[in-house]
């Protein structure tokens, strides 16, 4: 099985990135063998809904668990719908977090741990709003 950890740099010694939707990259690892791949987070620069696009990307990688610092309600909703377990409040290096996970020291969260717009805010697009009024 695979777990995805939000990261700031492409190695196991990277600090866990505190934001799910706006992190630079993910380390997707097999917690048993510690084999891993680095996946860029293209959704990081989205105007709005970064968590949503990032969650969809992760869901396509056949990941079963996400480990991160903070996860907002939109991302949480998408990940939960995909059946992915979400662990928030993680701190330390990616290597440390994988070890903690294997030792059963991490527990999954039941809901988002930050309110929406936590990571960056800034609605997408031009906010000129819709065309024809209703």
């Amino acid at each position: 099985m695979k777990i995805a950890i939000s990261a700031s740099s492409p190695s196991l010694d990277s600090e866990v990135n505190p934001r799910f939707g706006r992190c630079d990259m993910f380390i997707i690892a097999d917690p048993k063998s510690i084999d891993f791949e680095v996946v860029d987070n293209a959704g990081e620069s989205a105007g709005g809904g970064a968590g949503i696009s990032t969650a969809q990307m992760i869901a396509q990688k056949n990941v079963e668990v996400v480990i991160t610092g903070n996860c907002g309600p939109n991302a949480h909703r998408v990940l939960s719908s995909a059946g992915i377990e979400i662990i928030t409040g993680a701190e330390g290096t990616v290597r440390q977090v994988i070890e903690d996970y294997n030792n059963g020291k991490l527990s999954s969260s039941s809901g988002p741990n930050v309110s929406d717009h936590f990571g960056m805010g800034g609605g997408g697009g031009h906010c000129r709003g819709k065309g024809k009024a209703n």
Binding site: I52, R128, G129, K130
Partner: protein, 286 residues
Amino acid sequence: MIISVASGKGGTGKTMVSTSLAASIKNNYNVQLLDADVEEPNSHIFLKPVFETSHAVSINVPVVNEDRCNHCGKCAEVCAFNAIAVVKDFVLTFPELCHGCGACSYLCPRRAINEAPNQIGTVETGKAGSISFVQGKLDIGQTMPTPVVREVKELTSREHIAIIDASPGTSCPVIAAIKDSDFCLLVTEPTPFGLNDLKLAVETVKQMGIPCGLILNRAGVGDSRVEEYCQKENIPILLTIPLDLNIARLYSKGTTLAEGLPQWQENFKEVFRKIREITGERNSST
């Protein structure tokens, strides 16, 4: 005639000017005041209208027919705003991110997406004595004021002298408020902040091809750089209102200048006359 009131800088006195102007000319004209500062509408405090109608302003957001949907993910792919997501057997919509562009429902290969209105604000109308009153208000937590401003503008009456109170700044809700007005009254104060933001506002109305004039508010403290700038740019200063604790107190109590210090009514009538002159000249020269 449509007169918009804008500023660049916040707190310069737009609302005080628009409501005092409306109150000063209401006996000679049919006046309509439209409050397009939909994030913080305040004109009602001064004109105290009795509201008669209220309707919701909505954006059309997608509603997915799960029976037809095969979770191909095309909608999520085309959405530029991440307002719709597809994972496994679920389609999730995020109405607060939706801009109502309609791409998802049009492009769904299974025609599985319909649109339904999602409220983002309200527009209310009423009367303040003989003044027709329109107010837009963006719901708390909503992010996009411009559609609400647009709906306020739809109610602009060409049968009236319409005065539009805009929000501070020069970005798109302000553009929507002052668009198609015949004249823009810019209100500022004679301070470095006032000058800095006035320049932005002047650039904006010039780009939109709308003639403008200045109301210099809280004159007395500050410096003369705003006046010098106006002289240089040929922007007429139509009225100067001094920094005066009495005026400030009237404002703090929600009283227009026209009501609280009736001698000011003549000054605002003069402003209106000058506006008519300037716009009349423009029309006759084209």
